[in-house]
Symmetry: C2
Subunit: 441 residues, 2 copies
Amino acid sequence: MAEALKLGIAGVGTVGGGVLQLIDKHWDKFKARAGRSLEVCAVSARDRHKKRSADISTYKWFDDPVVLATSDDIDVYVELIGGEEGVAKDSIEAALKAGKHVVTANKALLAHHGMALARLADENDVALNFEAAVAGAIPAIKTIQESLIANDITRVYGIMNGTCNYILTQMQKEGRNFDEVLQEAQDAGYAEADPTFDIGGYDTAHKLALLTTMAFGVETSLESIYVEGIEKITLADIEAADELGYRIKLLGVGLQTDSGIEQRVHPTMVPKNTPIAGVDGVTNCITFDGDFIGELVLIGAGAGASPTASSVVSDILDIAKGIIPPTFAWRTEDLVPYKRAPMRAHEGGYYIRLSVYDRPGAFAAIAASMADVGISLESIVQRLPESTMPGLDTLPHDGGPVPVDMITHRTTEAAVRKALQAIEKEGNVEEAPQMIRIIKL
Amino acid sequence: MAEALKLGIAGVGTVGGGVLQLIDKHWDKFKARAGRSLEVCAVSARDRHKKRSADISTYKWFDDPVVLATSDDIDVYVELIGGEEGVAKDSIEAALKAGKHVVTANKALLAHHGMALARLADENDVALNFEAAVAGAIPAIKTIQESLIANDITRVYGIMNGTCNYILTQMQKEGRNFDEVLQEAQDAGYAEADPTFDIGGYDTAHKLALLTTMAFGVETSLESIYVEGIEKITLADIEAADELGYRIKLLGVGLQTDSGIEQRVHPTMVPKNTPIAGVDGVTNCITFDGDFIGELVLIGAGAGASPTASSVVSDILDIAKGIIPPTFAWRTEDLVPYKRAPMRAHEGGYYIRLSVYDRPGAFAAIAASMADVGISLESIVQRLPESTMPGLDTLPHDGGPVPVDMITHRTTEAAVRKALQAIEKEGNVEEAPQMIRIIKL
């Protein structure tokens, strides 16, 4: 049997503690399965004496993660500090340069500096593994690296943020509005005190950037991602989606098109009765379209100490087994430059909700604005306030706003934006139109 | 760069042809990704001169797969002949003994002889890879081998047969009966002329046997699987399930229990609005419950030339990259003997449909038979024929049979069987009771 694989762990919070517990619990199994035992040799954390779930007193202690990262005591540097700059970045760079394998769960760091770090890993022939960085327990990274290797992947998309999915699920199931559910999620610890990073779509964008790089073999381009959060989704949207046969999910979508790569994060209507529509609460979902396999959907825990620790340890065991893939599935010199498809060229169906003043000519003007840019409608639903409850041909004519839901046929983002600008300008709507993209599965 | 990996392919039907096309199409990519090129050196098939999608005239030809399997011309023997005995088995044994890696899609062979073959692979330090044998494009095998290695898996279950799922989906969506949809599936090529192997649940049992072995680290035990097919599922069951909030799927289930391992294949009610309920048509689904990750669901193409070829090639490329895992995730000497939990000890909820003669005392007798074995009911629905359309308190009393749907609380298989025997014996039901197990997700 090969020598033990020596680990240095930096950051012993919930995930780091989970990793230590996991290695302790399944140590015998890991030895049998990997043909090599794991040995935690050294740790580093902010506070040596903090009370922790795991006992760290038997490991060698390092005050400075950068010193740990280059220590002769370790073969693998496990970075669980977090943060896109600072000591996490410095220590990973130091480890790679010193020829240590690195395992990390740090999506922000990789989304911003992944290319440079992957180059360092290539140059030093070491692993830079990050299964835990994207969708927790879902093996999205390994699936691209290995299982889908025989495919050209044409699209990758999914639910990558548990906070957003929890909020949208609660709104739908309990008929409650956004602010109320967000508050509840904050109280329950599913949302941060400042929730912008999650609900604004930025966390999803980080993960999408990594998936796109690997799926399409292109350089990472976080700044090319169109990002729209869930802040503007109302209960009315959720209810309209339900009536029309959809659920609303915050999706990250990477797509190969003729004009380049689309990367977008935005609320999206997905048809009910599809697996992704059934992905509720904090659960995540990653889907791949490949030329030989068609569609592959992976659903599982997107966060949490145990699922994250599980992925970190699977990365460590890959190294123990000698599985050392290029960081982003391809060696960095084989990744091609990112070519951005303009968002305005995006094609698809759209849901549009207008609050239309009920007066002569209003609908005609709206219809004309749609027709002017070549948009045709698949369905249109005029939802009357329940209090009026008219017969089919007795519409109220008090001039007050009437909600109108429309689903367009396939059109372009540019056409929809132009039409909505025109409609708003004409003054027949009470408020800015709501627009939600629909995904074809 | 390492030397080319030399392949010998036995069986050049649809899957074999797909493998050749795939290697041809993505050859450059495979070389870049694996750091080693693939070279198809030799083939064997029943008929050398048959018209094929792939041109095989440039490869060295072998009349006998067993001779190909041991030839110095190859490093990897790819068996795509099929069949649980005969030349497929002989050639794989010969290849392993000759120190060749083997890739196969042959689930029947592995379910029957997997232990002996895995021992040969262990002894000769070679790979025996079979990702394509279980659920086509779904990376179920690799997920157990590598991604879930940090978990104790407590349950594995899923939809593993596309023919059955197609039939059940069509019955539900189109309100048609079993025979009609089976005939259509046969005409469309989704079902064999003799469909017993699929609809009887035996194909699912083969796949389940392999998953159970790997997930729980136990010796394969095909003969321990309780198998019940979909032949007895009627449109009435499908409709009742729908009303009660369920879909009916043929599941294979492997479960760790206190009394041993349960392996069962049977029609199962799964709650609507869960991802697995949305898995329609020929699509497959494999789900794992792990102690650290919770639930992981994989959904994708379960069969077909391209998805199967994709998995075969991913297995070949793993070998090219030097990823040589033990066949069933554990070395054979580490697999523990299979301990079977008796099916009668199975616990869960049950759906029961009775056709009850509407006469005094009938319901009381049925209720008593349930109570005698400790079964309590979660819900009971008496569905009246539409033609009678009674008011709530005007039940028809012509004595004719009335359909009654019941959902039990958690109970045992033994109790349910006992109660149903008693009910049938009492003579208050027109026909044998229908019973469908419910899965808790």
